[in-house]
C-alpha cells in the first residue's frame, strides 16, 4: 500500500460514458491482486474515489494474456488505446482503471489527459482468492472451472481476475449490460475464455440479466466470482441458496449449493485503509470493514439489508 503521484498514459472513452485509463504505477502494479482497488484524489473533493484495478501490465514481461486488441468489425477504434502498453512505449509498469462517469469525481477523472499526474493510494483491500494462486501448485480438478459474472461496470475487476486465472483455469464470463453498446469490447479473448453476453434489450447475446442465466452454469462451475449491482448478488444468492427454511426471499437461506461464490461489494469509502469505520457492514461473521476486510466477500456471509450506498 502506497500513496503516489502517477502519470496518466492514456484516458479514453471506450464505451458510452465509460473511460479506460492507463497509469504508470509501478509500485501498485508490482503487488496488486485481482479484486483489490485504488483510491484517487479527484480535484477538490473531500473523499477519494475508489476504483477496482482493472488490468495490470508489468514492464519487463511479455504481454499479458490478451493477444491483441483488434476492435470488432472495425468499430470503436478508441479501444485500441488498450494496446498502448503493448506497443512498447511504456518503460514503467502500469495499471488500468475502467470507470463509469457518474458524478463530480468521475467527471473530473474523465477530463484528465495523457501526461497529467493523479494521486493514487493502493493497492487496497482483500482480493479474490483463486485456488491455484494461493497454493502455487497444480490446480486441483475440483476448482478448475471459474464462472465470472459481471454486471455493467462490475466487469472492471473481473478482467484482471481473468488475466491472472487464465493459464491454469477454464473461464466462462457472463457479462450483462443494458445494451450491446455498453458491453466491454472483448474482441479477442484468449483461448479458454468463453464470453457469454447478456443484454437487457436483447441487442446482443441473450436477453435479460446476467443473473438470469447463472443457473445454467452451476453444474459446470467450480468457483464463482461476481461483481455488479447488489440486485444481481441478491438474485444469485437466491439461486445458490434457495432454501425454503429461512430468509428465502432475501437470498439468505441455508446453504444448499457447495459452490463458493465471491463477490465484490460497494459502499462509500472514507479512508480506504481501515481507520475511519465509514465502510463497516454487519455480516454473518460479524462487523467487517469493506475497505480492508473486503471489498471481496463470500456471498453467503452478506446480510443484504446492510449493503446500501
Amino acid at each position: 500500500m502506497k500513496q503516489s503521484l502517477c502519470t496518466i498514459t492514456s484516458n479514453l472513452e471506450v464505451m458510452p460514458g465509460v473511460n479506460l485509463m492507463w497509469l504508470e504505477a509501478p509500485d501498485i502494479a508490482a503487488t496488486a491482486q485481482p479484486g483489490q482497488f485504488v483510491t484517487v484524489r479527484c480535484g477538490d473533493l473531500i473523499l477519494r474515489r475508489p476504483f477496482s484495478i482493472h488490468r495490470v501490465a508489468i514492464a519487463s514481461q511479455s504481454p499479458e494474456p490478451f493477444a491483441s486488441c483488434h476492435s470488432e468489425g472495425g468499430e470503436r477504434p478508441k479501444n485500441l488505446a488498450q494496446c498502448k502498453f503493448r506497443e512498447g512505449a511504456a518503460k514503467q509498469s502500469q495499471i488500468a482503471l475502467l470507470f463509469r462517469v457518474l458524478g463530480k469525481g468521475t467527471l473530473w477523472l474523465s477530463r484528465r489527459r495523457e501526461g497529467d499526474k493523479i494521486d493514487l493510494l493502493g493497492p487496497l483491500g482483500k482480493w479474490f482468492s483463486i485456488p491455484s494462486v494461493i497454493a502455487r501448485c497444480e490446480v486441483p480438478r475440483q476448482s478448475r472451472n471459474l464462472l465470472l459474472v459481471a454486471g455493467g461496470i462490475g466487469v472492471a475487476p473481473l478482467v484482471f481476475l481473468l488475466q491472472r486465472a487464465l493459464p491454469q483455469h477454464q473461464v466462462i464470463l457472463i457479462y450483462g449490460a443494458s445494451t450491446a453498446k455498453e458491453l466491454y469490447p472483448f474482441s479477442s479473448l484468449p483461448g479458454g475464455v468463453q464470453f457469454v453476453p447478456v443484454t437487457e434489450d436483447g441487442s446482443r447475446g441473450r436477453k435479460g440479466l446476467a443473473s438470469d442465466i447463472v443457473p445454467e452454469f452451476l453444474d459446470w462451475a467450480d468457483q464463482i466470482y461476481a461483481c455488479g449491482p447488489v440486485g444481481m448478488y441478491r438474485a444469485m444468492a437466491l439461486t445458490l441458496n434457495p432454501s425454503p427454511l429461512k430468509g428465502e426471499e432475501k437470498g439468505e437461506g441455508e446453504k444448499r449449493s457447495n459452490l463458493k461464490c465471491q463477490v465484490s461489494l460497494e459502499v462509500r469509502i472514507g479512508c480506504g485503509i481501515g481507520a475511519c469505520y465509514g465502510c463497516s457492514i454487519n455480516t454473518r461473521k460479524g462487523l467487517k470493514k469493506v475497505c480492508c476486510d473486503g471489498p471481496v466477500f463470500e456471498i453467503d456471509d452478506i446480510l443484504w439489508e446492510e449493503v446500501k450506498i
Binding site: Q3, R41, I46, L47, R48, G270, I273, C276, K308, I309
Partner: protein
C-alpha cells in the same frame, strides 16, 4: 528541537504534575486516524505531535447502519456511530504497540453515563503506551434523558471531575460546537479540572436525497467535518481562548499549514487534523512541514510566540 533551532515544542498540560510535552503541535483527530497503526505503512507517524485514537467505549460498539458517509460541498457528513473495539481490546491489542512508539497516543473516550466514562478511565489507568485521555462529551447521557453531556455546563463539569478523580493521565476535554454558549462550558470544564480543551467536534447536519425524499444517511443526521466547518471552528477557538487559561487545541477543517497557523494565531496551542487525513494521508505531516517553513520564512524561532497573536 530542530537542528536549525526551530522550537515547535508545546506543553499541553501545564497544570498537570507530569505535564504532556509534545515535540510539535500537529496531532491527528479522533476517528479519522484509527489507532495510528493503519497509517504507519503510509507515513512516518512518529513525526506527529500526538495521535488521538478512535473514540473508545466501555464495551465494543457496532455503530450505525450504512450509509455512514456523505460528501458535501467542502465537507463530510458522517454517522459512524462510535463503532469501536472497546477499551479492553484497546488495552490488550493496541496499547502494547503504542508503547514502542515515540509519538504520544491519547485515548479518546466516550460513554452514555458518568459511570461508563469513569470505568473506561479507570481501566486505562497506568496502561503503558497511553499518554493522555481526551473526553468526548458529545454523547447523549442516557441517565439525563438523552441530552448530551457537552451541552450543559453542569453535566460537562460533572463528567470532567468524575474522570479527573480516577485518572492520573493528562485530561483533555473535547467540546461540541452544537451549544448556545461554548465559553460557559469551557469555563465549567476548566474549573472541573481539565488540563486542556480541544474543539470542535463535528457540527450536526443532514443531507436529503430528493430523488428518494429521504436523508442520505441511514441514521438521518450526522456530524459535519472538513473545510466547510473551519470558520465556525476558528471562531469558537478564538472565543474560548479568550476566557480560559488552560491550552486550547484547535480542530475543524484543517487541511494545510495556513489553516493550522490561523488556529494558532486565534489562540490554539496545538491543532488536530481530521477529515484531511482521508483526503490525503500525508495531510498532517504536510501541515507540520508548512508550519516550519512559515516560521523559518518569518524568522520565528518559538512556536509559542505565534499563539494568540490574533487575539484582540
Amino acid at each position: 528541537m530542530e537542528s536549525n533551532s526551530l522550537n515547535l515544542g508545546i506543553q499541553l498540560a501545564p497544570r498537570h504534575p507530569e505535564g504532556l510535552m509534545l515535540d510539535n503541535p500537529v496531532m491527528t483527530a479522533s476517528g479519522t486516524f484509527g489507532y495510528g497503526i493503519e497509517y504507519s505503512e503510509l507515513i512516518d507517524i512518529q513525526k506527529l505531535g500526538a495521535i488521538i485514537c478512535k473514540g473508545t467505549t466501555l464495551m465494543p460498539r457496532k455503530g450505525n447502519p450504512q450509509p455512514r458517509l456523505v460528501e458535501t460541498v467542502g465537507g463530510l457528513l458522517n454517522s459512524v456511530g462510535l463503532e469501536n473495539i472497546g477499551v479492553d481490546a484497546v488495552i490488550r491489542d493496541k496499547a502494547p504497540i503504542w508503547a514502542n512508539w515515540r509519538v504520544p497516543v491519547i485515548v479518546n473516550i466516550a460513554g452514555e453515563t458518568i459511570d461508563e466514562y469513569v470505568s473506561i478511565a479507570a481501566k486505562l489507568e497506568d496502561t503503558p503506551g497511553v499518554s493522555g485521555i481526551e473526553l468526548n462529551i458529545s454523547c447523549p447521557n442516557i441517565s439525563a434523558g438523552g441530552i448530551e453531556f457537552g451541552v450543559t455546563p453542569r453535566l460537562a463539569a460533572e463528567v470532567t471531575s468524575a474522570v479527573k478523580a480516577v485518572t492520573s493521565f493528562p485530561l483533555i476535554v473535547k467540546l461540541s460546537p452544537n451549544v448556545t454558549d461554548i465559553k460557559e462550558i469551557a469555563l465549567a470544564v476548566e474549573r472541573a479540572g481539565a488540563d486542556a480543551i480541544s474543539l470542535i467536534n463535528t457540527v450536526k447536519g443532514m443531507v436529503i436525497d430528493i430523488s428518494k425524499g429521504e436523508s442520505r444517511l441511514e441514521s438521518i443526521t450526522g456530524g459535519l467535518s472538513g473545510p466547510a466547518i473551519k470558520p465556525v471552528a476558528l471562531y469558537l477557538v478564538y472565543e474560548v481562548a479568550k476566557v480560559i487559561h488552560i491550552p486550547v487545541i484547535g480542530c475543524g477543517g484543517i487541511c494545510c499549514a495556513a489553516d493550522a497557523l490561523g488556529f494558532i494565531m486565534a489562540g490554539a496551542s496545538a491543532v488536530q487534523v481530521g477529515t484531511a487525513n482521508l483526503t490525503n494521508p500525508h495531510a498532517a505531516l504536510d501541515v507540520l512541514e508548512g508550519i516550519k517553513y512559515f516560521m523559518r520564512d518569518r524568522g520565528i524561532q518559538k512556536l509559542t510566540d505565534l499563539i494568540s497573536v490574533a487575539q484582540a
